[in-house]
């Protein structure tokens, strides 16, 4: 950062960033609930709100047994998804899904010659994935292809939300499912019927081979077109047996949406392809899937149940939608941005600037003073700092029930009482007004939803905190221009005020959590998650308030030296 501030200027921001500023910056730039994460890493672990946590996703993807699948498949699926997680210790949603897809197809594979077949598929895959290698000998292609795939697999499992594999299996799944889910359930029932009974559906192996043939021809004749998948797509829609991974999405979607027969021919083909591809990846290092099959305890005679793949893909897509929606909602109740909107952040920043400037003035005074007096000053500073220490355990704030006074009035009374001796005209109106409004809101509508209550809770906490921080900032400014300082009184007043304010934050949190507990909700888990978060945000709020108080310390101190 630039450091050329003119020497005389105590520009408050001068010099290096203080740790606290950095910390705040970090918080600002990180994503939802980062503030919690930072402050409450431990507690956060239990918080059910870690929406973006891949593990959670994996966990919920595990719950496939919710889905209505035939009994036979059901047990095996449970088995698979359970074990798949064991195999792939980095339980990413993608890999879980793939494992499943693979396992479904695998037995059918084994009826065939196995490796030869994979070679074929390898070629097909090569033709669409590896542009430069088009004209190289087949064996070499295959080799590099497998390597390529392994690398991609690794890449995909290390970074969860990146582009993953070049051909993005998971997005293919989700898109395919999106298309499919627009169909009536009849269609998908139809699909599964066909699949399971193998009526009229072309043998996937056959299709695959055809596809490969067509492909290699295409590849030889016009390799540049591979660079432009869109081109291929338009071609391929006419040719149901030929497709490329790149065009899977549009193919699947189009096929599913247009005709039933095409669904069967093209859509299943596509899924077959995906399955095989996945299989191939899985099989790497485990030829014939001997080990994995053994682990999964699959009967090699099992027929593939591709409908299962569809269902699972659908479940995954729904899960993703749900997560996306939650993220959007999370932004709406993002404490940090609300706090910023209520000008809390900028008041805190301005207070920080003042605090730093005053600290520098104190240091300056210490440097310039006679060494014999230096110790005295230091002691005075220390004494002031001690005066400003928060009482350790909340000494049960003699909760004098303020008679028939309303809650906001009582709060106002307590705040005024705490700062009676500070020698300034304190302004608490915004806090009191907000408290009044909050209480009114909570008692106005008996049919509040848990979501509405939660949103309002976070917003109220952010607003109350912003107003509190503003009080510290304004107080600091007024103290600095106060003609006669009374350090002890000021220190005591601000300490008391901090106690009242943090208690107020706790009261707000309690109001909302009580409200949440009082409503009848079918989603008890969600309510509990909201309650946990409200308390986390309340804790966060208290920390902001104490931070503001801490920043005010040099401003109190300078009055004494």
């Amino acid at each position: 950062m630039p450091s050329s501030d003119s020497e005389d200027f105590e520009s408050a921001d001068e010099g290096r960033n203080s740790p606290s500023k950095k910390e705040r910056k970090k918080r600002l730039s990180s994503s939802n609930y980062s503030d919690n994460l930072e402050f409450d890493l431990e507690t956060k672990k239990d918080a059910p709100l870690a929406k973006s946590n891949p593990k959670d996703v994996a966990k919920s993807v595990d719950g496939w047994d919710d889905f209505d699948i035939n009994e036979e498949a059901e047990s095996s699926t449970k088995n698979i998804s359970g074990k798949a997680n064991v195999i792939k210790s980095d339980t990413k949603p993608t890999s879980v899904l793939n494992t499943n897809a693979k396992s479904e197809i695998q037995p059918e594979k084994s009826q065939d010659t196995g490796w030869d077949d994979f070679d074929d598929w390898g070629d097909t895959e090569t033709s669409c994935n590896i542009k430069e290698d088009q004209l190289k000998p087949q064996s070499e292609k295959k080799h590099s292809n497998i390597k390529d795939v392994t690398e991609r697999l690794a890449a995909a499992s290390t970074k969860n939300e990146g582009w993953g594999w070049g051909w993005g299996v998971d997005s293919i799944f989700s898109t395919a499912t999106a298309g499919i889910s627009t169909l009536t359930s009849q269609v998908s029932q139809g699909i599964s019927t066909v699949l399971e009974t193998s009526i009229g559906a072309p043998d996937p192996e056959e299709l695959a081979r055809k596809s490969k043939d067509v492909h290699s021809q295409q590849t030889l004749s016009k390799e540049p077109s591979i660079e432009k998948p869109q081109f291929d797509i338009s071609k391929n829609t006419d040719n149901e047996t030929s497709f490329q991974f790149g065009s899977l999405i549009s193919e699947v979607t189009k096929f599913v949406e247009t005709t039933g027969t095409k669904v069967l021919a093209g859509g299943l083909d596509t899924l077959e392809t995906i399955g095989k591809k996945t299989m191939e990846v899985l099989q790497d290092g485990d030829p014939g899937l001997a080990k994995k099959r053994a682990m999964l305890g699959l009967d090699p005679a099992d027929k593939p149940v591709l409908s299962q793949v569809l269902r699972e893909a659908k479940a995954k897509a729904e899960e993703e939608d749900r997560i996306r929606e939650q993220k959007r909602e999370a932004k709406e109740v993002h404490y940090e941005s609300l706090f910023d909107d209520f000008e809390g952040l900028v008041h805190l920043e301005a207070l920080e600037m003042l605090s730093r400037q005053v600290s520098m003035r104190i240091d300056e005074r210490l440097r310039s003073v006679d060494p014999s007096k230096r110790q005295d000053i230091k002691e005075t500073l220390q004494q002031v700092a001690e005066l400003c220490e928060m009482p350790d355990d909340d000494e049960e704030e003699e909760m004098e029930e303020s008679g028939d006074m309303s809650k906001p009035d009582a709060l106002h009374e307590r705040l005024l009482a705490s700062t009676r001796d500070i020698g300034l005209k304190m302004q608490y109106q915004p806090l009191i007004k907000q408290y009044t409004e909050t209480l009114e809101w909570l008692s106005s509508d008996p049919d509040l939803t848990e979501k509405a209550i939660y949103k309002r809770a976070v917003s109220s906490l952010a607003q109350a905190t912003a107003f509190s921080v503003e009080v510290y900032h304004k107080t600091a400014e007024m103290l600095l221009v106060k003609p006669r300082r009374s350090t002890a009184d000021e220190a005591d007043a601000l300490t008391q005020m901090t106690v009242v304010l943090t208690k107020h934050i706790g009261d707000i949190a309690t109001l909302f959590t009580e409200k949440l507990n009082s409503i009848t909700s079918e989603d008890k888990e969600q309510v509990n998650s909201h309650i946990t978060n409200i308390f986390l945000e309340a804790d966060n709020s208290s920390k902001y308030i104490q931070n503001a108080f801490h920043l005010a310390l040099p401003i109190i101190q300078i009055g004494a030296v």
Binding site: M1, A12, W163, S171, P229, I249, A350
Partner: protein, 222 residues
């Protein structure tokens, strides 16, 4: 509440003698309202509004409304540094407020250094001009004079009224556009440790959304 979606945040500071109308100008700009009476500002107050510059880029203006009173001078000077723009505000019916402008400008330059802010010279209370029977309501600073000063010092100049709303919007848009232009030319950039210009709240955090959308498109290409 401010709509959180914006591309940049610019921090602008308003400086000038007390009672020239800085807070009223800001109140009109952010609230569309004019308050006949208002308390003198203590230290600094904050306002915010999102505007769009010519190419549609959304800018959140974070406005620092400083106290004009002499007693707060030592405090307000600590607030200058992170500003990318400064509005030098005077009262067209108050000669001395205009005469202090060079001092305000020097002070701002000195504290904002090494950054070079965009300055605008903003005359307030033009609605009072013409009702010159009342005390203090006669124009004491001509438009030409102010314009000349602005030209000499390379400032934008605008005369406003927070009562009628005349040119209030323009005053801020002028500065925002100029800051934005300087970003475009590379003269200004977002810097770590300097809060004059920041990128929007939603840009970095919103990335995951863009990625999700882009991913679907991208996967049609192998």
């Amino acid at each position: 509440m401010v709509d959180p979606i914006f591309d940049y945040q610019f921090r602008l500071i308003l400086i000038g003698d007390s009672t020239v109308g800085k807070s009223s100008l800001l109140k009109y700009f952010t609230d569309g309202k004019f308050a006949e009476l208002s308390d003198p500002t203590v230290g600094v107050d904050f306002f915010a509004r999102i505007i769009e510059v010519q190419d549609g880029t959304r800018i959140k203006l974070q406005l620092w409304d400083t106290a004009g009173q002499e007693r707060f001078r030592s405090i307000t000077k600590s607030y200058y540094r992170n500003s990318v723009g400064a509005l030098l505000v005077y009262d067209v019916c108050n000669r001395s407020s205009f005469e202090h402008i060079p001092l305000w400008m020097m002070e701002a330059k000195r504290h904002i250094e090494p950054h070079r802010p965009v300055f605008a010279l903003v005359g307030c209370k033009v609605d009072l001009v013409g009702t010159d029977n009342k005390i203090g309501a006669r124009r004491e600073v001509s438009c030409e004079e102010a314009r000349l000063f602005a030209e000499e010092n390379g400032l934008h100049h605008v005369e406003t009224s927070a009562k009628t709303g005349l040119n209030v919007e323009e005053a801020f848009v002028l500065v925002a556009q100029e800051v934005y232009n300087r970003i475009q030319t590379g003269e200004y950039k977002v810097e770590d440790g300097w809060d004059g210009i920041k990128t929007g709240f939603n840009r970095p955090n919103g990335m995951d959304f863009n990625l999700l959308e882009a991913e679907t498109v991208q996967s049609t290409c192998c």
